[in-house]
Every structure is written in C-alpha cells, then in structure tokens.
Amino acid sequence: MYQYFYNLLGNEIAATLITAAVPLVNVLLVALIGVYLERKVSAHMQDRLGPMRTGWHGVFQTVADFIKMLQKEDAVSTEIDKKLYNIAPVLVFTGTFAAYAAIPFSSQLIGSEAEVGIFYVVAISSLVVAGILMAGWSSNNKYSLLGAMRSAAQIVSYEIPTAIVILSMVMLTGTLSLDKFSQMQTAYFWNWNIFGGAELGLVKFLLIPFMVVGFIIVFISTLAEVNRTPFDIPEAESELVAGYFTEYCGMKWAMFMLSEYGNMFAVSAIVTILFFGGYQSPVGYVGDLVGADWMIPLEQGFWFLAKGWFFIFVQMWLRWTLPRLRVDQLMSLCWKYLIPYAFVNLIIIGFISLI
C-alpha cells in the first residue's frame, strides 16, 4: 500500500500519512458505529429500544455524544501525576492503533508487510497495559489503581494462552506474516484454518476438532485482553466506578473509549486471520467470475470488515449474556483451564502437522 502511494505521489511523507489514515479512519468508524451498535444490541437483547430520538432510530446518537465530548471541560484534579496522567490515554491509543499497522485489510491494503506480523501485533498490543497502569497510578484514586492492577494481572495472564494458540498456528502454517496467513486460506470457506486449512487430506480432518478448541481458547483470551465482559473487572462499573479511567473526562476519556473499540476490532481481525480466512471470501469472488481483477481487493476488504464486525457482534452478544467473573474465577479460568488446554492442543497440533 505504502509502495503504491509512494509510486503515485513520489513523496514519502504524503504516502506515509495516507497509508496511516486508512486504519485511523477504520478505528474511528469502528468506535462510532460500535458504540451505536453496542447500545442497540444491548437494548434489544433486553427487550428495549435503545437510542431512538437522534435521527432515524437514533443513528446520530454517537455523533451527538462525540460533539458533546469535544465541548467538555477538561477537569483535572490537583493531586495527580500530571505527566503520566496526560501520556496514558495517548499511549493506550497508540498501542491499539499500532496493532493495525500489520493487519491486512485486503491483499492490496496492508500497512506493513512485515514478516513477523503476528508477533508484532501480540507485542505491540501489550503496550496498552503500560498505558492502563499509568492511567491508574497517576490518577491517585483507589478505584483507578485497583482497576489498573486488575487489568495488568488479567492481560499478562491471558497473553499466555493467546500466545500458545498463536504458536500452534504458526507451527502449522510455518509463517508469522498475517498476509501469508490469509493467502494460505484460499477463497472458499472449507479452506479456512478452522476447517483444517487448504491442503486436502487426512491431516485436514484430523485438525478440525483441535482448530475449534484453539479458536475457542483464543477467542476467550482475546476477549479478556480487551477487557470486555465477562472479563471486564478492570472497569467493573458496579464495583470500581469506571476502573482505570475514572478520573478522566472529555477527549482523554474518549481516547480510552476509542482504544477499547479499536481493540475489539483488532482482536476480531486477529481471530479472523488465524482461523477464518482473513480477507478471503467464503464463497469465491464476483471479480473472478466476471473477469474484473480490480474488484477482488474491494471484495476482500468487504469480507474482512464483515468478518470483523461479526466477531464484534459476538463480543457484544457475550457481553449481554454473561455476568462478570470474579477475580479468582478469572485467574482459575486462565491458569487451570485455558493454559492446559492450549498446551495440549499445541502438542497435538504439533504431532499432526508432523504427519
């Protein structure tokens, strides 16, 4: 992508900015639509209607909220650590946004074609923990601190099962590049990794159950990493006010919000790429049928967004289904269940891929 714009414009800075703008726009749209969808989904799951009065069925509600947020006074308490307090939201958002650099939206729309894509995403998204800890600590507020501590413990623990499952996928496919991951699962849904990958044979069918297990593990643990219910103990509204961003307001608060929804899409994208074919269409391409090559990347973009949004919907669905876990339950789920399963899964997938 960068190369394309570089050739077009012949200017490094302009090309970089345009390349960076695509994921940024995506994050903003995800937050804007995500918040609206969240409200609507939660409302309808509880037999309510949700926002109805701002535009048709309240579609402009988040826009209105956003404008309100822009106008808000930046209230800052006196006893805080100013420097860290101001850096924290930026750091959290940077961590989220940086993960998008390696995510392939379609075969043409890739920020960085780094060979170590998945590794980079796992590493850079841990930057968020530092931001959250900073926010909690510098706020000088017991709720913020508790939230931050819980969040750190949670993210660090759940990184392990995620990493193990990703490792098993890397073993199977032999690549770290997210683009190659997507390319390998060619354009039909039976070629996706969840159905055992593209190569037909005994291995494919042997793999299916273990892929499903891997998918469930990675889905649960990424859910925990982005602090969504049932793993939202860092922000637990009913216990900790708002957790680590209790003391924030206005645009700084909005940055935490943005990063939360950006993260939701990022982990959905990772799950999609690992198990559900990334940007590949489940049913083949219209572009192939009519012989219009230029259509394929657009279709891929559509399928990628559709899959990403589907998993965001599942995350919301889970949020309004399950109650919040207690801290000890959270830890026992991770250490006693997910990690052993992920480990056994890793070994079995290792043996199968030897066949």
């Binding site: 799951m45 509880q46 309510r48 209607l49 289904t321 269940y337 399963y341």
Partner: protein, 186 residues
Amino acid sequence: MKQYFKDTWDGIWTVLIGMKITFKHLFTPAVTIQYPDVKVKLPDRVRNRLYVNIDDCIGCDQCSRACPVSCIEIETVKGVPGEDLGTTSNGKKKALWVTKFNIDFAKCCYCQLCVFPCPTECIYMTDIYEFSEYDRNNFVYNFSALTKEEINQKKTNFEKFQAEKEAQKAAAAAKPKTDTPPAAPN
C-alpha cells in the same frame, strides 16, 4: 479428571444456552413505550392537575378548607343587591364575586380532597400531567375570571354599599333615640 472435563464442557455448553436465550430476545419486540410520542392510557380515576370551572364556583371556600396543605387561596367579595351574578349550572344563585382563586400546584399533593366538598362540582381533576415549569412561581394558577379593574370595581361597589348600609343603619338608629351616638363602623 473426569470432573475437570465435565466442568469444561458445562462451562461452554451453558454459555451457548445463555447465548441462545439472548439471541432470541434480540428479536422479541421491545416493550418500550416511546413516551412523548406514545402515551399510555391513564386509569379512570387518575389524579392530576386540578381545574376549576369558575363560572360554577360560588366562592364557598369549602375546597380551600378541605385542602390539607392549604394551597388554595380564595378571596371573595359580596355582590350588592340588584347586581346579577348569574346562576351555576345546577341552578344555585351566586352571591359572591370570586376575586381570587389561586391554586399553587407546587404545593398540591393531588389528594383530591378538595374535589368532594364542592357543592357545585366545579373543581375537578383533569388528565393533564405534563406541566413542568422552570420557575416555581409559574405553578400558581389563577382561576379567577375577573380582571383587576373589575375586582377593584366590585370592591368599591361593595364598600359603597356597605357604607350606605352603615349610614342607613346609623340613620335608623339615630331616628328614635337621638342621644345615643352611632356605632363606630368597623
């Protein structure tokens, strides 16, 4: 070990059951009533803002006395003979000008106690319940139909009449016994 696998299975299975239930609810029609656009039907004997049909009011002050929070203020002036005050709808002759009939709905507790004693049934509950205000003073509703000039006129009329009556009385008293001084008008 068996328990461990059973727990795992139960965990996943129950989550799926829960998700099935919430998914069903996603498509059940919402129970929300969109209030300002759609209003629920009020019950028959609902108690809301009062209304006074001042044409029927005879100014008997019974409602004001029945009110537990004293939020009805009534002032009346007697009509002078020869003045036609009209009749109420159930045929009672009116004798008093109601110069002031204020109900303070900020104080009113909507107990309806003022409604029952009214002899002409002219104070009653309406079905209006949306009358919030920015200023508390706006809750004082004035039901009297008379304008300021009319009120002043009625007052002076009555005072004149009173004075005349006093004068007559004084004159009548003065006639048979001239030595007694006239009673001081109060």
